[in-house]
Structure formats: structure tokens, C-alpha cells
Symmetry: C5
Subunit: 284 residues, 5 copies
Amino acid sequence: PGAASRTPASVILSPPEIFAAMARAGGEKCKFPFYKLAYLSILAGAYIGFGFAIALLVAGGMNQAPSNPDKSQVNVGVYRLVVGFFSFPFSLALVLINGGEVWTSMPMYSMCALYEGKCSVLDVLRVNAISWCGNFAGAGMQCGLFIASGIFEGEDSRHVRFLVEEKVSAGFGRIFVKSILGMWLIGLAVWQGNAAQDLTGKAIGVLMPTSFFGALGLENSTANMFVYPMGTFYGANITAGQFVADGIVAVSLGNIVATMLMIATSYATIYGRIPMLVEDAAQK
Amino acid sequence: PGAASRTPASVILSPPEIFAAMARAGGEKCKFPFYKLAYLSILAGAYIGFGFAIALLVAGGMNQAPSNPDKSQVNVGVYRLVVGFFSFPFSLALVLINGGEVWTSMPMYSMCALYEGKCSVLDVLRVNAISWCGNFAGAGMQCGLFIASGIFEGEDSRHVRFLVEEKVSAGFGRIFVKSILGMWLIGLAVWQGNAAQDLTGKAIGVLMPTSFFGALGLENSTANMFVYPMGTFYGANITAGQFVADGIVAVSLGNIVATMLMIATSYATIYGRIPMLVEDAAQK
Amino acid sequence: PGAASRTPASVILSPPEIFAAMARAGGEKCKFPFYKLAYLSILAGAYIGFGFAIALLVAGGMNQAPSNPDKSQVNVGVYRLVVGFFSFPFSLALVLINGGEVWTSMPMYSMCALYEGKCSVLDVLRVNAISWCGNFAGAGMQCGLFIASGIFEGEDSRHVRFLVEEKVSAGFGRIFVKSILGMWLIGLAVWQGNAAQDLTGKAIGVLMPTSFFGALGLENSTANMFVYPMGTFYGANITAGQFVADGIVAVSLGNIVATMLMIATSYATIYGRIPMLVEDAAQK
Amino acid sequence: PGAASRTPASVILSPPEIFAAMARAGGEKCKFPFYKLAYLSILAGAYIGFGFAIALLVAGGMNQAPSNPDKSQVNVGVYRLVVGFFSFPFSLALVLINGGEVWTSMPMYSMCALYEGKCSVLDVLRVNAISWCGNFAGAGMQCGLFIASGIFEGEDSRHVRFLVEEKVSAGFGRIFVKSILGMWLIGLAVWQGNAAQDLTGKAIGVLMPTSFFGALGLENSTANMFVYPMGTFYGANITAGQFVADGIVAVSLGNIVATMLMIATSYATIYGRIPMLVEDAAQK
Amino acid sequence: PGAASRTPASVILSPPEIFAAMARAGGEKCKFPFYKLAYLSILAGAYIGFGFAIALLVAGGMNQAPSNPDKSQVNVGVYRLVVGFFSFPFSLALVLINGGEVWTSMPMYSMCALYEGKCSVLDVLRVNAISWCGNFAGAGMQCGLFIASGIFEGEDSRHVRFLVEEKVSAGFGRIFVKSILGMWLIGLAVWQGNAAQDLTGKAIGVLMPTSFFGALGLENSTANMFVYPMGTFYGANITAGQFVADGIVAVSLGNIVATMLMIATSYATIYGRIPMLVEDAAQK
């Protein structure tokens, strides 16, 4: 029995199939009762919190980390490599495999469903509002548990402060651009994760763009809901305005642009109904 | 024969399917005869012991380990990275793939079964009691074998003492919180491991959250059943009260909260019968 | 149920099947409407830009990078290893899995289709022109986003300048040869990626030759469309003539030779209709 | 076609299925003609020799190896990590995938077959005797080839001597215990390798416990059949009595205990006929 | 739908199935027209050249490489590790997955076919002669491209000279033995690669023994057809006699012994017709 004589099987969706699956999943999410969507969003917030805790404790705990006062040991390339691979990828995989709703991908799911006529504009607003709030609740709860555990007390709080201060130092405009780039990658990670039909494929699919996101030091709305409270608790030198404007608003706007425009609209144009809708509108 | 023309196959369970599989497996475990459950629990205790032995000998044997008296070589980030990847993940995979019952996941399995009406409260108590005791017996036996092997004699006993003393230094409250965080991750590892329907998928599914558990230095009940006796033998400076209260009681309570509440109750609410049961209760 | 008693399944195409799939896919691409092919090409340009940004920021940010003025820390072998594994492979996988048309592989797809009689010479020219322009637009847009993000400001701009100046220093002839070698590898990466029928297989198939491409410091047309504008912005000391001749023309010519000749013509001779066409021509 | 609407396929055996497959495979091995079993055992001895050669040349050739006279460079944790991952796992996978009979797992296979009534006690003795001798012949032949190749001449012979002298220094009793621990892990590696129904799964299944075996510096009978002759040739300071008693007898006894008792008897009690046989015996 | 209730699928061939597949593939190769076999062999020569170029540029470019004149930085264990993993494995996978005929495995394929009565002795000689010559042509062409690219000019030529001079310093006899060991591993890599029925499995199957081959610094005929011309061009101090006798003849003889005897004859005895043929011959 040689390979050539058999019809190969497939355990991956093709690009048009991924789009169709995303639109269908988006439509289903819009039908979720409130308690279900809220609970899934709280869980996702907590799972993402685990990933940021790892970024802070492992990569941030390396002598190579940029927060190390002994600059002769700093090696940012190595630090970025570890942040990329060993923090958010595993965290996002938890959400995708076990079940959870991270707001980062919700604009993408819901817009695909909207373009394909599987939900209303009101549905889009509703699921995004619930998952945004649920993520904040879950990430905040996780932040509380980590503070209560005392893990970050002492030397390991230095990198927490450093990271949050470094984040806000970029300013609103650049944070907005970094959010677009960051959530474009995270959105593609979820996209790819839905393509794979086996656990390893989902893990690798999520890992690849998410490791870029981490290594480039980009911005993610749900992740910020964990690290900004952490930074504030451990004494980062940021103002309440920076917390809200730079940590939450700029990043949320970037998320909407990245996942609604860069991903959902792109693939709905390529594989979905947008060209047909445009033609219909033009004929009227 | 291109991918697009074939229906893709799947070798992973979806989130609702995982919950159903967990509840069914929990129900089956409740039907196990005593000797079978006890034997599987002893094996699991021994398998977990292997993982902790590796954590102590490999990561603990690195010049980068925090127990190294030459502080100029210590690099806790690198140490945490190695502890995370090369110790418990492979150990937990042994349990899942070959067969074994680790108590860490038993509250989760049995509560899912209870919520879905597949077992009684007495069953839940029975299987948890047996697996808890079996794990302790297996981990203790493994501890005896490692002591008899002499592997940890000399320089390598230093890290054993260091680790146990560092663990108890956190105190009951923080150990309880670290147990919740730790066993939430381990519980999700087992959850994911049951989602995958191939060996690599199970290994990766288990690896991802378990590596976080190790790298964050969190607490696990079965692992403590191995390392506390080891530490005591090699002269760690802890009291009998600390052994029992911090090493066993706090961690066991944390396990119950994490796997019964954080995982079983969450997913039984989202994918299981809890909303229906609540509605029924409300209608009475 | 043991392995021996079952007919094994296959999730990979055999070499002749890959060629047939490539020719069929090439034929389909020739039928794409303009907006679809252009959009897919813009996306691919942007995805490849992510990969180069990582090469510049992670490998280039290591103390081991050849651009480090402190030569005692430089270790080019280690730098090449990181460039190879953690930059373009993940980027090219994004294109293949999610959907995108990178010009690097378009001569190969379209020539396979042409040899197998699935499109005309005009189709070949059309799809190559559209994807070349689309890639430039996408890579340029991505370059703009990265510049706007400010990520490369300060110390991290040094490696950007270094890399572009080092690239042009090879001169037209050598750049042409490096493009043949480089795009032979990238072409084989896409070839292999189409062989696999699961996400992990596609990722590994793409990773293997693409990591060679990166580690050997070879040339890729789409990648240059990102890094030459970046280098110019951050002050690399190159002329407009070098930009066009070395960065674009030499590399585009090399791409055509590598993917049309080395790959498409080779496998069309081995597995396709070329021998039959030659025989037919000889009989006339 | 989304994942939820399809019945997932499985490419792994469940724990009870592994036991059944092991017993069936054990029964088949007992039916092998002499020449076949002997040949497979010689091959396995040679394959395991490759693994030990790597352990000696790669991990032993690192400046971090404990045999390095310059103690300031020694880092046993790092050395153990490399020994664990890059030596025996790949070697044992060669045996499992291509075909070979390593004595380490023969007591396990044959006892499972005996418990399930698929062979006689005489069969058990016969297959174990043949595979033990065949392994010794194959490992010895491989040892001869490596000596003839001259690879280990000069500096690289130092670690060969170091390792064999370190091994015997533990003494008979501890070597016996280290053999139990070591072959429990190797036995589980074979067990897991039989669970997986794809090459990657078999490789990962074997890798996980085998890397623990190597990193913990445990004992394996077939491996010793390669390294003790090597050590003797390159001048390790051990006596003939140590060679036989510590290198062969203690380790062979440990193997029998580990794989017959720890694994075969355990899983035959849990998933096999032992409880039924005990009940039958009790009723008489 | 739990795993236990389904019949597991298999995506790997069992040892007897691999042998049958090898014999069948060998028979098919003997039926290839000249142009097809020659073309596939030229491609394989070029693909293997890529692997050696990486070995020279990445591992050879590390400060840890033995060719580094600053001996305080040399770490041969680390150098061997990188040579093993990141050079030939990916290169051989290119051959296996995309299509190519490397002479290393041709004696093995053709002898399996001969033993199973699927080709004649003349066929064996023919396919081996064509693939040997084709490999030399392809490797030579690749060598020319790399020289033309200028990649190895300057500092990176040092390791090229070092490696070739180190290779010949072993002398004919030891090179012959190192060829047997080396091509036994490469042959097993191809054997395993044919067992797997998915891309990742083929990649891992090839990686495992091939990484041993590279790390042990063994000999391979096709690889030498690339590196000896390279070494000669960059001024390695070897004679024409050493080039022919040590670089080509000794290694080709070793290849024949390893793959015809160690592998093809072994598995034809165990799983094929050799015992039957011997019995038939004895009965006459």
C-alpha cells in the first residue's frame, strides 16, 4: 500500500473554507445567550493574563532583559526571541482549543458574519461590547490572583514597571499604529488556528504570528487589560489618563481597524460576498 | 486531488465535545473497581515524581539556577524557561497517554460527571479520596527509589533543599493562591490533552499550560507529595507543620477550587447542564 | 486494532501529485478577476514585510549581529541561525495558509499551468505583472506602518542601514546569482507547502528551505520591496540606481530564472507534458 | 464544513488498546523464527550504539561537560539537557519505526503476551535470551566500527573514560536501582511509541521519557553493551568484575524488575487478565 | 464521540510494509527513462549542496567552530549540535518530498527490488551509474553557483578549507569506515522517510538519523561531490589523489556496503524473500 495509490486526506481548511468557517462561527457567536458569551469572555481574559505573566516573569527575569540595570548583560534580540515564543502563543491557544472569547478576534468574527448576512449590525455591537467587558473582568481578576500570589514581589516587579512605562512612552499615535500591526498578527493567528483541524496544527498556526507579535513588542487590547493594572499596582510611573487613553482607547481603536479592515474586509472581498454586494449596490 | 475538493477530516474535539468527553470519562472513572483506580493513582504519583526529579536535576543543576551560591552566574529567566519545558509536561503526558490517575484532575473529571448526572456526590468523594491517597503512595515510592539511587547525593541535593525551603517561605495564603493558579493550568492541560486525538496533539496540548505552571513556580498537589519527602530527607529546614499545612493542605484546597470551580463549573455552565439545572430549580 | 491490519492513510501529495496540483492551482490563479489577484498580492506583500521586520528586530537586535559595533560580541553563525528560523518561514506560511499571492512563486505556478495547457502566455504575463505590482504596494504599505510605529527608531535603525548597505555591496552579478539560489529555495518551500495537507505539514514544509534562504543571506524580490524603502528611510548609504538595479531588477530576473527554470521546467520535464511536447515537436 | 459537524478521527490507541496491542505484538514475537529475532536484535544493538556515540561526542564534547578539566566552564544542567534530548531518543525511534528488537522492552512484550495467554513461559525465556545476546552482538559490532573509524581518538576519548568510570563508581546496589528507574522510562517510551499511529507521534512518544532517562544519567542494558567495551578500549580504569557485575548483571536485573513488574504486571492488572486469573485461582 | 469508541487510523507504514514499499519503489525507479532519472539525480545533487552550504556557513560561521583560530571560543559539542540539526536533514527532506534521486539511497532501493524479483542485476547497475553521475553533475553545478554568488569569500572560506583538510586527514581506511556509518544513518533516514505518510512525519523521520550523521562528522558520497570542489576552489591543501581516493572512491565503496548490506540485505532477510531464496537454493 504506497502513498501514490491512495487519495490523500486533508486536515486543514483551504483559504476560502477558512473564511466561510469564520463567518459561520461569527454568526453562531451572535446567537449565544448573554451568560455564555460573558463567561467565555471572562475565561479568555484570564487565559491571556497567564501569557502576560509568563512574559514578565520568564523573559523579564532574564539577565538579557532590557530592564536589567546591569547593561553589559542586556541582549534585546535574545529577550525578544523568548518573549515571542514563550508567552502569548500558548495563551491564545488555550482560548482557541478549550473555549473562550477574546475580544481581539471578535470584530473579525462578527464582521465576517455581517458581510455574509448571518447577523445584524446590532449583533456586531452587542457581541463586541460583551466580549470587551468580559475580557476586562477576566484579566482584572487574573491580575488580582497574581498580585495575591506574591510571585511578582521583590526583584520581579522591576520588569513590570519597566514594561508599562516603556509602553506608554510611545504616545497615542504610535500606540495606535502598533495596535494595528499587533492585532493584525493576532487576528491572523486566530484565522490560521481555525484552519487547522488537529491540536498541533492549531497550536502551530497560533504560534507563528503570535510569536511575531510578542517579539516586535506590539500592542493587544486584552493583554493590556492585564498588564496596566499590574503595572499600576507595582508602582509604574504612569498617569490615569495614560492608562485610559494609551492603554485602552488607542489599542481598542487599533484592534477595530486591524481585524475589521485588514482581515475581515480583505477576505470578505476576496472569498466572500462583498464584490456581489458592491455590484448590487452599483446596479441600483 | 487538491485540498479544496475534499472534505477535511478532524482529529480534535471542539470545546463542547471536550466537555462531553470529560463528563463521560469522569462517569467511567466513578465505576472503576477500587484496585484499578488505586493502581492507576499509584502509577500517576510515580510518573509525576519523574518530572520533579528532572526539574531538580536538570534546571536545578544549571549554573543559572537561583540555588547557585555563585550569584554572578544566576539567571532566573533562563532557569524558569528550562523548568517550564523540561520537567512536568513530559511527566503529565505519561499519565495521559499510558494510563494513570493524577488527583490534580480528578475533582474536574468527577464534577463534570456530577453536573451531567453521570455519578453521585458519594462517587465524587470516593474517587477523589482514592486518587489522592494513591498519588501519595506512588510519589512516596518514587521518592524512595530516587533516594536509593543516590542520584541526588552531594552537590545536587543543594537545589532540593533550596526549592522546598523557598516553597514554604511563601506562607499558607500565598501557597493557596499559587495552587489555584497552578492547578488551573494543569487542569487545562488535561482538558486540552483530551481534546487531541493523536499523540503529538496530546503532548503539545499538555506541554503548553504545563510549561507555564513550571516556569511560574506554581504549586501542584501530586508534585508536592514527591518533593516534600525528598526535601525532608536531604535536610531542608522546614517543620512538620509546614510540611502538612503548606505542602499538603493549602495545595489540596487550591486544587479543589481551581479544577472544580475554575474549570468544571465554568465549562458545565457554558457547555453543560448547569443553566438547565438552575432554571429547573428557579421554576420550583 | 493494530497498525498492521489497517490500510494507512496519507496526508501528503506524492511528487507527481504536487506538480499536478501546482499546474491546476496556476490555472485557477490565471482565471482570478483583477481585484482578487491584486488584493491577494497586496496582502502577501504585507505578510512578507512582517517577516523582514522580525529579521531586523530580533536577529538584528542580538549582540551577536554583525552590525554590532562591539566586534567581540559578534557571532555570525548564531546570528544566521536566528535569521533563518525566526523571520521569513512564518511569514511565508501566513501567505500559504490564510491566502495571499507572493510574486516569488507566481512564475512557477503560471509556467506549470502553461506547460500543462491550462493557460496562455498572455495569462502568464498578466498574473505575474499583477502580483509583482501588488506585492510592491503591500510591502510599501507595511513599510509605512512600521515607520509610523516608531519601532525601528534609535538603536534598532542601525541594523536596517547595515543590512541594506551590505546587500548592495555584492554588486549586480552576485545579487543575480544570490537571487537564483534564494528563490530556488523559496520556490521549493511553496512546492512543499502545497504537498502537505495539514497545517503543521505546511508550516514545516515551508520552514525547511526558507530557513536556509534566510541563514544564507540570499535575495528575495518581495522581501526587497520592504527592506529597500526601510533602508532608504533610515539613511542607508545607497543610490537610487542601486535601489532599482540591485534591489529590484537583478532580484526579479533571478526569481524568473529560479522558479521558471530550476523548478517549473524541471518538474514539468520529469512529471509533466514537456517530454510529450518535445516529441510532438520533433515528429513535425 | 466546520469541525463540530464531523466525527473526529483518532490516530492514537487508548490505554487499554495499547496494552492489547503490546500483548498481541509480544505473542507475534514469540512466533518469530530464530534467524529473524536474532537479526532484529543485532540491528537494535547497533542502532542503540549510534545513540550512545552521539551522547559521548556531542554532549561529551561540550565545554559544559563534567569531564572538562577546566571546571569553570562545566555546567552539568546544560550537559544533562543535551544528553537527554540528543542521543537515545532518536536511537530508540530507529528501532521502533524501522524494525529491531531491543532487549530492554522484551520482558515487557513477552510478559504481556504470557498474562494474556498468547505464549508460554518457555517462549518468554527464549525470546529474552535471543534478544539479549543479539543486542550484545550488535552493540559490540557497532563499538568495533566506531573504534575503527577513529572518531573518538584524541580529546574525545576523555569523556568515554570519564563516563564509564563514573558509572561503575555508583556500585552494584545503586546501579540496580538506577536500572529500574531507567528502564521503567525506556519501557514507557516503547509503550507510548506503540500507542501512536503516525511517525511524529512515535518519535515524540519515544522522546519524552527517553530524554528523562538520558538527562538523569540512568542505566540501560543494551546501551551498556556498547559503552563498556568502548570505555575498556579507550583505557577506562575499571576491572573485569565491574564490567560484568555492574555493567551487565545489575543492569539486566534492573531491566527485568522495571519492565516485567512496573509496566507489564501493572497494566495487565489494570487492563488485562490478571484480576480474572487471581479470581479463578482464589475460587479453586 | 470519544477516542475509545472509534477504530484508530494509521498514517505510518509498519516495518514489513516499509520494506515492501522500498522494493516496489526500487522497481519503479528501474523503469524510469534515462532523462527522468538523470534529471532527478541532478536535482538531488543540487539540493544536497544547499545542505552542505548551510553546514559551512552557519555552524562553520559560529565562534564555537573548531576552525576558529581563537581557541578559547571553540566548543566542539555545540558546533556538532548545530551541524547535526541545521544542514543535511532539511536538504534530504527536499529530495524526498519534492522529488529527486540521491545516489546514497539508490543501492538500497535497487537491491530491495532485486531481492524481491522486481528488476535485474543490469537494472541495478544502470540506475546506480546514472544517479551517481547525475548527483555529481548537480552538486558540481550547485558548487559553481555558490562560488559565483561570492557568499563564501573572505572569512567564510576558512571553514571550507578547514573541513576538507580535516576530512582527508583521516586517511582511506577510516574514511571508508566513516562512510559505512554515515550512509547507514542516511539510508535509515530515507527508509523512515518512506514510512511516514505525512510531511511532518517525513521531515522528522529524515531529521533523526541525519542529524546523527552530521553531528558525528561522518561521510556521504553526494555531499562530498559538493564540498571537495568547494574546498579545492577555496585553496584547501589536498592533492588530486586525495580528492579522488578519499573524497570519492572510499566514500562510494562505503555507501555500497552500508546501504546494500547493512540495510537492504538485512531487511530483505527479515521481511523479504531472502530466506525463501536461500531455502530454494539449498533444496537444489
